[in-house]
């Protein structure tokens, strides 16, 4: 068994695709219309095009908002991405206007930071995983 796909809920799928590709640097993988203003929309890392896909899933279900609001209130990230260097990624994304709820933090064996993906989620980046 493999983890081949996981998902985050996003407020607006097209805006989410822009953020996840243009700002973060992922590439679109599937972009298939599935009804009223909804798509089967996944991105992958250009470093791992055959790796796990991230599904950008519509956040319309009524359970999503209270769930995500409670997590964001406490600063809890919904997904974790791996980067070579958290500090340089922090600087690159900050220049692009990305807001961090937590700047690069040295936790001894790992450095991590947490940013707002502008789609309703907090995302954690780490340099060792």
């Amino acid at each position: 068994m493999k983890i081949h796909l996981t998902s985050v809920f996003v407020d607006d799928q097209r805006a989410a695709l822009d953020f996840y590709t243009d700002v973060l640097g992922f590439q679109a993988h599937h972009d298939i219309p599935i009804g009223d203003d909804a798509w089967w929309l996944t991105v992958v890392s250009p470093e791992q095009p055959d790796g796990a896909q991230l599904l950008l899933e519509p956040a319309g279900h009524p359970a999503v908002k209270p769930y995500r609001d409670a997590l964001v209130e406490d600063g809890i990230p919904l997904a974790q991405f791996g980067v070579d260097d958290v500090q340089s990624e922090y600087e690159r994304l900050t220049e692009r206007g990305v807001e961090f709820t937590q700047p690069p933090t040295d936790l001894g064996n790992v450095t991590m930071a947490v940013f707002d993906d502008t789609c309703g989620n907090l995302i954690q980046i780490v340099d060792r995983w």
Binding site: E73, D74, G75, I76, T101, T105, L107, D116, L122
Partner: protein, 94 residues
């Protein structure tokens, strides 16, 4: 004043204040991460949240919202009142 002593009587709560003194304005998630990584404290988020409530009601921690996230700040004023009482007697705090 009693609340301040009660709040400071707990080691985990003192460590939370240490971490806020190092970097002010942290989410619950960040505080929990630092307590685990730097102090080996594996309390649940709910437990740490309750500690923060105690610190907040003692006036040692204040909360501000940034966007949709709640950040915790160290408030030193109640501690200044303590030094006023014993280290600087005779000078009225008011």
């Amino acid at each position: 004043m009693t609340d301040v002593f009660k709040a400071l009587a707990d080691e985990t709560r003192r460590l939370i204040l240490d971490e806020l003194a190092t970097r002010d304005g942290q989410t619950l998630f960040e505080i929990c991460s630092l307590l685990i990584a730097r102090h080996g404290i594996n309390s649940s988020r709910q437990a740490i949240s309750q500690h923060l409530t105690v610190l907040e009601s003692a006036g040692l921690v204040t909360v501000q919202w940034r966007g949709r996230s709640k950040l915790h700040y160290l408030n030193r004023e109640p501690l200044a009142d303590l030094t006023q009482r014993w280290l600087n007697p005779g000078k009225d705090a008011s």
